[in-house]
Assembly symmetry: C2
Homo-oligomer: 140 residues x 2
């Protein structure tokens, strides 16, 4: 969408990984969990049900594609998928790969521990793991 | 689905409100928040992306219909929609109406406070608020 602007809070805490047809894909800058966010490039929408039906389906499509690739690549125990947005009002959909060994298991991760930023090598590693697989699907 | 059985943890903590085409609609037995759960009547599925594409779309459909009615009826500030399932492995999608005045705001609600069960009158009130509107849409 023209004139779409990523919310400043999301922007500050994340690395932009990829443009999908509907969403920006962000990596949250916290190396404690594989934590990704999809942000539909649509202005002034807070909740999923407020999107046009076509955009809702596309969001589901992008979310499921992302979830499947994340579980394949990270070999997690469980996906956590959530639209909360009590603090940042711009609609965004969290995708977190959870492990029984992770710091917060089995609790939800939000607000438990301060974020621990990635270093450049870690970010490049994640990009190398995910972007080729995602682009392959998008180019189909 | 034949032979579908609601997970015992979900069953213990909730009141069954309605059968939707794909999901059971549960009211979580906690009067601190309007907190509802959709459980697809499909066995052995943990994550949304593992459902057939048609069931994924139906889940989205039921989730958005429910979200819209909940926000209309409860006049909340924000919907929280989440598939976590780290403890109860049966796929279930939380829908919580949030208010700036609620006990946990702006944090996610899970695990913060012990559940406070409804009394019968409160349950009947919620059924009266929601079931006619939901049935009207389902019968369309």
């Amino acid at each position: 969408m023209e004139n779409f602007q990523l919310n400043a809070m999301l922007s500050k805490d994340s690395i932009e990984l990829l443009e999908l047809p509907l969403c920006k894909l962000l990596l949250m800058n916290d190396n404690q969990y594989p934590w990704f966010v999809l942000v539909p490039k649509v202005n002034d929408v807070q909740d999923i049900y407020q999107l046009d039906w076509q955009d809702q389906q596309q969001l589901l499509n992008e979310s499921s594609m992302l979830s499947e690739i994340l579980m394949q690549k990270f070999q997690g125990k469980k996906m956590n998928v959530a639209a909360l947005g009590n603090i940042c009002p711009q609609l965004h959909l969290h995708h977190i790969v959870r492990f029984e060994e992770d710091k917060a298991w089995p609790k939800p991760i939000w607000g438990l521990f301060p974020m621990k930023p990635y270093n450049e090598a870690e970010i490049e590693k994640i990009k190398g793991m995910l972007l080729p697989a995602l682009k392959l699907i998008l180019d189909k």
